[in-house]
């Protein structure tokens, strides 16, 4: 290919040509021969250096001969010489020589025209070919470049996608930890409260216990001194009154009752927490999602919700194989979103039912709703309409990830200023196994 393209002869229009380039011996000789046959002795065409290019007949060395010479022109410039030799008395020699000159000149001129045409044509074809070859080379190059680019692009996209997925997974994990953290903080507050008053009760009770001990010591002293019954009664009554033991006894009983209630409450919170996080259960178990909903609500009630907010429409559900702790966390995220939708008069309708074997759970609030332009974005990571610092934008994202990981699906419907309904669907057992 390359050789073909570069091996051509550079042709320049206007290049000077020699007679021998234009006309070949075999082309002229028949012409020269014809005049010899017609009676001339010899007929010769000389080139630029006066050397014979073609000849017919032979010039005798001696005797009287008549020579007629004409120049043959190339592009109007005399280049060759035509010499006709004949007998001096040959009357037809001169007109024949003119005929011969015109014939040779015509061949030269026509040949020159043909050569110029052919050479130009060839050079144009050559140039077109080179242009095509060059265009082809650059196309091949650019194609290779694009192919390489596409290849590395694919790798880069894969790499970036993997990086993003890792970052996303880390974020989800962080968000889960944050949710657990905030839950733990709420729990700590709830437990701290009863512990505070139990501690204070017990301190008071210790003071009361000292008074009981003092009273008992006094009795023991009176008994050992052998006091008479009247004396005994009078002195012990006085001491009883000064120690205010009637009040202390009543109060002590009240303190213990209160403390026991506090302990009960702590026990309840811990039990809730254990159930909610399922720390003592296996990862997967058959769970009643109604129970998980109840647990989540009761955890919320111990934090920032009130029992009156929840309107239950729970129908019996089949057991669903999942990690109940994670599912509860997902519910928690959805509930917390609902809790932030309205400051007063909030109602959260929690409904569960079975539709064609699928478990359907609706968590609907009567809150501010979501603007139509935002509805498609609520599951996006970091999407939040709340002020900076008030929402991470990850609550619903984590919920969705969890539900999908558990084999379910999640959808959201909302009307601005009317409320939002989150619907969770878990497929029937048969469909899931399919």
């Amino acid at each position: 290919m390359m050789n073909e393209a570069t091996s051509h002869i550079d042709y320049l229009i206007g290049e000077e040509k020699r007679l021998a380039d234009i006309i070949r011996r075999v082309e002229v000789e028949p012409l020269l021969m014809s005049i010899v046959r017609a009676g001339a002795v010899s007929s010769v065409l000389f080139n630029e250096e006066s050397l014979p290019l073609a000849e017919a007949g032979s010039e005798p060395d001696f005797g009287q001969w008549r020579r007629i010479e004409y120049s043959i022109k190339v592009e109007g410039e005399p280049k060759g010489l035509l010499r006709i030799t004949g007998k001096p008395d040959d009357m037809s020699l001169a007109p024949m020589a003119i005929l011969m000159r015109d014939a040779v000149q015509l061949v030269v001129t026509n040949n020159l025209k043909r050569m110029m045409t052919t050479e130009l044509h060839t050079s144009i074809v050559q140039e077109s070919y080179e242009q095509l070859a060059a265009a082809n080379r650059s196309l091949v190059e650019s194609e290779k470049r694009y192919r390489d680019l596409a290849l590395s692009l694919e790798q880069k996209v894969e790499q970036r996608t993997a990086e993003l997925q890792n970052a996303y997974a880390r974020l989800l994990q962080q968000e889960k930890l944050a949710a657990v953290g905030s839950l733990a903080a709420g729990m700590a507050h709830e437990i701290n409260n009863p512990i505070g008053f139990i501690k204070s009760n017990l301190s008071t009770f210790r003071v009361y216990l000292e008074r009981f001990a003092e009273m008992l010591d006094f009795y023991r002293l009176l008994t050992s001194k052998g006091a008479n019954p009247d004396q005994f009664k009078l002195m012990s009554e006085n001491r009883w009154r000064s120690l205010k033991l009637d009040m202390v006894l009543g109060d002590a009983s009240e303190l213990l009752t209160q403390s026991l209630q506090g302990v009960e409450r702590i026990a309840q919170i811990v039990a809730d927490l254990k159930c909610f996080s399922h720390v003592d259960e296996k990862d997967h178990s058959d769970a009643d999602l109604n129970v998980e909903l109840e647990r989540t609500m009761s955890v919320l009630v111990s934090q920032n919700a009130t029992e009156g907010m929840f309107v239950r429409e729970l129908q019996p559900l089949p057991l669903y194989a999942c990690n109940p702790g994670l599912i509860s966390q997902a519910f928690l995220g959805i509930f917390q979103n609902a809790l932030q939708s309205r400051s007063e008069g909030l109602l959260i309708r929690v409904a569960s039912r079975v539709e064609e074997g699928d478990i359907i759970i609706d968590i609907a609030d009567n809150g501010c709703g979501i603007a139509p332009q935002n509805i498609s974005r609520v599951f996006e990571p970091f999407f939040t309409t709340r002020e900076v610092g008030l929402g991470t934008g990850m609550g619903l994202t984590v919920a969705r990830e969890t539900i999908i990981a558990a084999g379910g699906s999640i959808g959201i419907e909302s009307r601005e200023n009317e409320g939002t309904t989150v619907t969770i669907r878990f497929p029937s057992r048969t469909e899931r196994n399919r």
Partner: protein
């Protein structure tokens, strides 16, 4: 320059008549052929044409021999004007020593003229000719037709280029010699500056121009 053989005292120069299709390039050469004396020139060679339109090129050679023996051959070419023959134009333009741009004066042809001139500039650059240095003469042909751009306008439009502009009617032989004389003179000056024609080869400018531009005795500048 096609060839400069100092040893054999031979110089071959190239002039090119450029311009849009049908603007009268071949007609210019035919008029030159008719107007100028046979002694200074060769025959007009018209290569194959189709429907009276040049598809390769036309050639009219001129000869001059200096007292020093230097033979100067001046080959004058036309190019095919049709857009599709661009490769031929480029080939003919190669190593030109002077260019005549033949424009069509008709109002309707102004866009075609300017496209062709752009094409000339582009092709000159491509074949390595300098736009600033190469002698270039502009001819507005067909002045005898109606609906032509007035001479004032033409001159005004071309003034900024500094190029010599001639009005012509090549069919009647008018303006043809003036154009040719100008481009031959400019070309002589350019070649003289580079190769010292006068200093080294005793080529006299007037003698050179006079020989090449020797008009036929029969008609003195105009075709009857």
């Amino acid at each position: 320059m096609i060839e400069f053989d100092e040893l054999n005292k031979k110089m071959v120069l190239k002039l090119v008549y450029y311009g849009p299709a049908m603007s009268g390039k071949t007609t210019n050469l035919m008029a030159l052929h008719d107007l100028l004396n046979m002694e200074g020139r060769g025959e007009l060679m018209l290569l194959d044409t189709r429907e009276d339109r040049t598809i390769y090129f036309d050639l009219l050679p001129f000869f001059y021999v200096a007292p020093s023996g230097l033979r100067i051959k001046l080959k004058v070419y036309t190019v095919p004007g049709q857009v599709r023959h661009d490769a031929t134009r480029k080939a003919v333009l190669q190593r030109a020593d002077g260019v005549v741009f033949v424009a069509d004066s008709q109002q309707s042809q102004m866009v075609v003229n300017s496209e062709s001139f752009d094409n000339l500039e582009r092709n000159m650059t491509m074949v390595g000719l300098s736009l600033e240095r190469l002698p270039l003469v502009v001819q507005f042909n067909k002045r005898d037709l109606p609906d032509i751009v007035p001479e004032d306008e033409v001159r005004c439009a071309w003034r900024s280029t500094g190029l010599p502009v001639f009005m012509s009617c090549a069919l009647k032989g008018q303006g043809v010699l003036e154009t040719f004389s100008e481009v031959v003179g400019l070309t002589f000056d350019a070649v003289n500056a580079r190769h010292g024609l006068t200093a080294r080869f005793e080529v006299n400018r007037d003698d050179f121009l006079g020989t090449i531009l020797r008009t036929s005795a029969a008609n003195d500048g105009n075709i009857p």
